[in-house]
Symmetry: C2
Subunit: 346 residues, 2 copies
DNA sequence: CTGAAAGCGCTAACAG
DNA sequence: CTGTTAGCGCTTTCAG
């Protein structure tokens, strides 16, 4: 097994002083003579001493670990948010333990239990798609363990949250479509109970009415966020007696699937039908035509979530803050009928 | 701060017995009376007791944490490998701490230092692109801390590794191109010192000679794995007096960039030039034309790395094992000139 | 059958 | 200026 690392005791013995002297010397305690401090530090450096975090943790009851639970690691959005979290966690000397719920409520609960057992100091969580019961979160709150939600959120009166301005963004996409000549605009949403589904739906409706368009309920489609289900929703839309001439989806993965389906259906993008997504993954510029998409400040979302988390650790009585991050509509080929691949910001 | 959790002491006090009795009761020690065991377990369950991992860690000198260092989290390949690692780690009751080196040698060293300080029980690492000096790895080995490499590897005589069959795969792509009518086959490689660059290059050369093609050195291009640098390499290839009629790249990201560049250059895929990638990301089927790619068993690579890791923790004297995982060439539109979007496996 | 005591590595209050 | 002691939560001899 692993070689035991040097401890204060080892150094103390080697120097012929007591353990506490070494401990103090290492932190420049004023009571220790300068020469001793120098000697202690020299030896500690030589032996590559570093304090045992478990001993410290036991003493201070702190693990410096944050538990992060996300629906899916294998996604540009989530992995990018995690980089953001990691960035500020590292600054603060914290480690991040990521567990994926795989969009499963059961797994989400399990992950929380496991991480609580591991004594993480708190949680940063994005709800699984299935989650409609919040008792496991209440449990965290009751144990007075810091908790922050991002993107998919709940219990906003008790828990700080970071989200994108979904409403505004969906409204923006809708009127962008309209401005480019579309009048039969469809939206493929996600599970109803998710805040992001709902807010984007509201923005969509507002966008329609802003443009003087009627809401036609078959144009409001739904999927479970998987490519397969998104493809099926797309097919339903395209098969309508009067099919839409523009579609946007709750995220880019959904729209990539819609894009494939549209092409299979024999329609041209954007000539026959315009497309736009949400999140602006790297791959939006890789597909052809390049995908118009609402760019999320994903890394910043992670950073912000971590910042809220640390605010909370410092003061658990804080009134839960809700941060809404601005998004940007990045217009690309998939929603512009005029020739030219312009790429302009809203 | 966090509420202190119940300890053995709390339960012991409440039951009017000693701490050691509770400790024994919880693990069905034969010396404890059955009724006491029942009472102890009941109360422990009620109070939601779980042993403090730091106390255990201090005692047993084990943290049950694995440090994983990868070049980049925001990539299908790496996040998928990590899911695989997490899967088996979780089975074994281990946690995974992921840090990204961002392809930086400096950061890679730092991450190792930090994780050693955190007393992870060992490492699973994929080298950063910049890494050519291996002293930080030697340090891990000397400390007798378990270490496993995957994908980008080094020190194979000392460290167990999991890689894909790069040589065979590159050879396969080359002859697939040839079989589909290409004769001027180019390869965009990555940094020279990476094993994956080199093995794929060797496979490419073997493939050429298998097909009776001459090696033409301008067709062996190189990039630093960024989309920008891949695009530049592509442009150099396309601007050659006699440009290639087929290109494959060291990974899909590179080829996505090549695809964009090719289109910008005004060439049709696959009519004018065929393309193929490595890794088979999800997005290979999203681009148009769909990308032929060498499918990596990414999740399995993670699982295998974790398995090797645990073998190592159980016996540090094991002879380092090198596992090579089979890949599959998934043929899609980007490399097939006949009409029809066939999708067949090799 | 059960309790007391030592020790894992460290800090901090209390003595000198 | 430096050492001793207690204690963080737990397991494990060693004594009852």
């Amino acid at each position: 097994m692993v070689k035991p690392r040097v401890s204060l005791k080892d150094i103390a013995k080697e120097l012929g002083v007591s353990i506490s002297t070494v401990s103090r010397g290492l932190k420049d305690h004023p009571d220790i003579s300068n020469e001793l401090i120098v000697k202690i530090k020299a030896l500690a450096g030589l032996r590559n001493y570093s304090p045992n975090p478990m001993a410290m943790g036991l003493l201070k009851q702190r693990t410096r670990m944050i538990g992060v639970i996300i629906p899916d690691l294998v996604t540009h959005f989530f992995s990018s948010v995690i980089s953001g979290i990691e960035e500020v966690a590292q600054e603060k000397g914290y480690f991040v333990i990521v567990s994926s719920s795989n969009e499963s409520y059961r797994k989400e609960r399990e992950n929380i239990q496991n991480l609580m057992k591991a004594r993480v100091e708190g949680f940063i969580i994005c709800l699984s798609q299935e989650t409609t019961d919040y008792s496991h979160f209440e449990q965290i709150i009751e144990a007075e363990i810091p908790l922050v939600f991002f993107d998919r959120v709940c219990l906003k009166d008790k828990v700080p949250t970071v989200v994108a301005d979904s409403f505004e963004a969906a409204r923006g996409i809708t009127s962008h479509f309209f401005g480019n000549g579309a009048s039969r605009i469809a939206y493929i949403s996600g599970p109803k109970h998710l805040n992001i589904s709902d807010e984007r739906r509201m923005g969509y409706l507002k966008g329609l009415s802003d443009c003087g368009l009627e809401f036609y309920s078959p144009y409001l489609e739904q999927c479970d966020l998987s490519p397969e289900s998104a493809a099926a929703a797309t097919l339903r839309l395209l098969s309508l007696p009067v099919p839409p001439d523009a579609i946007f989806g709750i995220n880019d993965t959904v729209v990539f699937a819609a894009m494939k389906e549209t092409r299979k259906f024999g329609l041209r993008i954007p000539e026959d039908i315009m497309l736009a997504g949400f999140t602006d993954e790297f791959h939006a510029t890789v597909v052809h035509p390049m995908l118009t998409s609402v760019m999320h400040p994903t890394r910043e979302m992670g950073r912000m979530a971590a910042r809220l988390f640390f605010e909370l650790t410092e003061n658990m009585d804080l009134v839960p803050k809700s941060v809404e991050l601005k998004t940007t509509l990045v217009i690309r080929e998939s929603s512009v009928r005029s020739k030219g691949n312009e790429r302009m910001k809203k």
